[in-house]
Symmetry: C2
Subunit: 224 residues, 2 copies
């Protein structure tokens, strides 16, 4: 019976830490068992068990009214996994020529590969990229995360132009739609009109394409 070292993390524990981190970015949301259950796609009962475990390991704090919160160690580990994830995404896109919409799922697996120097070596090999292919900042080795001004496309006014800096939704179906519309990180977009009825937007994408997109679309694209 191998005694699990206190600092050993199972795949599952790592994914819970990531989920809690992700929810924490949404300052509005309380990190409740149900919120975590939604994020992880498991039952609330399962979450309660894991909350107990992560609390005992001092990776998170939990309080029925305040919800869960990453403690320092938990935060550090979550950020490290996200760093791995985003670096691997860059690798998959730039070196293995995968497309935008394929890389996330593979990175979900690669992010858990463990070796003390791996992220740093990968980072150096890739030339210290600042952003991943979806426009998300890649945490530095020390845990710092570069911040960027990001606005939802839906908040841009008629007549204004902007540049795509990131996607908020990394689902395959959304990314494929972007490819079809020739939208990429860096693409220039001008808001030509907004339909008052449902807030659909008429966009000029680059030089070529003029099209109307839904409010939901405009809320999934981050621009500068």
């Amino acid at each position: 019976m191998p005694i699990p070292h206190e600092t050993m993390r199972s795949l599952t524990e790592e994914n819970y830490l990531k989920a809690i981190y992700r929810i924490s970015l949404n300052k509005k949301l309380k990190i409740s068992p149900t919120a975590i259950a939604d994020e992880m796609g498991v039952s609330a009962a399962s979450v309660i068990d894991m909350i107990k475990k992560l609390s005992e390991k001092k990776l998170i704090s939990y309080d029925k009214v305040k919800g869960a919160k990453l403690l320092e160690r938990g935060q550090k580990e979550a950020v490290a996994i996200i760093r791995n994830h985003r670096l691997w995404e860059v690798f998959l896109l730039e070196k293995l020529n995968y497309s935008w919409d394929e890389i996330h799922d593979i990175a979900e697996q690669l992010e858990h590969v463990k070796h003390p120097e791996l992220a740093d070596r990968l980072d150096a090999f890739l030339g210290h990229p600042e952003y991943d292919p979806h426009g998300d900042p890649i945490p530095k080795s020390n845990g710092d995360i570069p911040t960027t001004v990001k606005t939802l496309l839906s908040e841009i006014e008629i007549g204004k132009s902007c540049r795509v800096v990131a996607v908020k939704d990394t689902s395959s179906v959304f990314l494929q739609y972007l490819v079809q519309l020739s939208v990429n990180i860096g693409t220039k977009i001008k808001v030509l009109d907004i339909v008052p009825f449902d807030n659909s937007m008429l966009l000029q994408i680059g030089k070529e394409i003029k099209t109307t997109v839904s409010k939901r679309f405009a809320e999934s694209l981050l621009v500068d």
Copy 2:
């Protein structure tokens, strides 16, 4: 209760397939529960359970007297994992500048990352390497494995020269010893003398180094 698709492989199942494959390379050995238990570092009881499972999935056959044997599907999957492993080892050494003795453990994790095109893309990115950094052949996409003439250094006669083509032991401690002796894949070795008492060998390694090595050492190096 998600019904596990018949073609889904757990990490554990994959490692058993690999272990069985590895034993099968040693034509002499019968692939018995104990042989597998040794290879995997688990109890024979655990092996019996897994043998049942893999048999039901038609990945192996098992018979008390004949032992276990990979069936076509099992063989194919084992070889695919080994292909992954060896390609990742090349990546880690050549692209991330890891050393000889560090790559195996990381590749043990990377080999299980799943995506239909991953091995082929990695293979192309690396320029279709034929051998991994330990001199082992990298299986082709179709499962073919280039064969090489390999002899144990221990079988070379006094006065003969040879070239290192592979290491039989990929343990860190052995590889570090090789580094210390300036032995690498391709290094030329001449057998100057053999001690009759214990079959130790006096070697000329490259131009510089002359040293005596144990029989065990000589049985861990493969030469052409």
